[in-house]
């Protein structure tokens, strides 16, 4: 169970970074093929963007929190921390984004989105099948997002050797700042 919630006890550094970069490339390809982009922190929208732009944005939403967490770690840790560990573990945590993006490419989810959007525009009752598949996707995404935050907190805690209230508050602060700033930009 520990491996599910805290894989960083077992993997970090260069190995995690290599796997993470592969996941970032994979998520960029998925988003690009679906005509999507991560337009703000943990928010995916439809856009006509080049593959390079999609990849650059994916890297930005990995590196920005990683660097903020690294600086936060430096401020409160007593250990000698390595930047490769925080970069590796946070990159590895991007695996969770694949869990969110991959179902968005499924025809059932895409069709349901189209049905729901057209129902909202026309003011008609959406089809039950579309509703069920969107609720299922919503539950799945919520579960994935919770796991995303758990993994990222554990990436921060293991890489920077921090724990307790101070670490949790700093982690929440980084997430809130990123969400606000990314929505303003």
């Amino acid at each position: 169970m520990n491996r599910v919630f805290n894989p960083f006890r077992y993997i970090a550094g260069g190995k995690a970074l290599a796997i993470g970069i592969v996941c970032i490339i994979a998520s960029s390809l998925m988003l690009y093929s679906g005509g999507m982009i991560q337009d703000s922190f943990l928010h995916i929208g439809y856009a006509d963007a080049s593959l390079l732009k999609v990849f650059a944005v994916q890297c930005l939403w990995w590196l920005a929190p990683a660097m903020l967490l690294y600086l936060s770690g430096l401020a409160i840790t007593k250990s000698k921390i390595r930047i490769i560990d925080i970069l590796g573990t946070t990159a590895f945590a991007q695996i969770i984004l694949l869990m969110i993006i991959a179902p968005m490419l499924l025809p059932a989810v895409q069709d349901s989105t189209t049905v729901l959007l057209s129902s909202l525009q026309s003011g008609t009752e959406p089809a039950t099948k579309a509703m069920i598949s969107m609720i299922a996707y919503g539950i799945w995404t919520t579960f994935a997002l919770i796991l995303y935050y758990i993994w990222n907190y554990n990436a921060f805690a293991v890489s920077c050797n921090v724990k307790g209230t101070k670490a949790i508050l700093l982690f929440i602060l980084v997430q809130v700042v990123l969400t606000i700033v990314s929505n303003i930009l």
Binding site: F8, R9, Y10, A12, G13, A16, S79, R82, D85, T89
Partner: protein
């Protein structure tokens, strides 16, 4: 028979234990006095195992991480917590 664990704290009050006598099982000689227990001996069994493994790996945390199947920062964090414990034990010793 279960392996006996060297006690480092008093089971009654939690105070630091000291050695009062040492016995030679070869010639039955007993040395009495009041001897302090080295901080390394006051670490838990797991911590002592970690210190031994650390020495066996010539202090290479990377090697230890590979041998233990753990990540480098996890091993470093365990070492840092042992360093913290040793500092606390040494401070306690000085304050006695």
């Amino acid at each position: 028979m279960a392996k006996k664990v060297f006690p480092t704290v008093c089971p009654s009050c939690g105070g630091v234990l000291r050695v009062e006598s040492l016995h030679c099982s070869e010639c039955e000689t007993t040395v009495s006095g009041e001897f302090e227990v080295h901080p390394l001996l006051r670490l838990t069994a797991e911590e002592q195992q970690f210190v031994l493994a650390f020495i066996r790996c010539s202090g290479s945390l990377k090697q230890m991480a590979a041998d233990m199947g753990l990540s480098y920062p996890t091993v470093r964090n365990i070492l840092d917590s042992i360093i913290d414990n040793i500092k606390k034990l040494e401070n306690n010793e000085q304050s006695i």
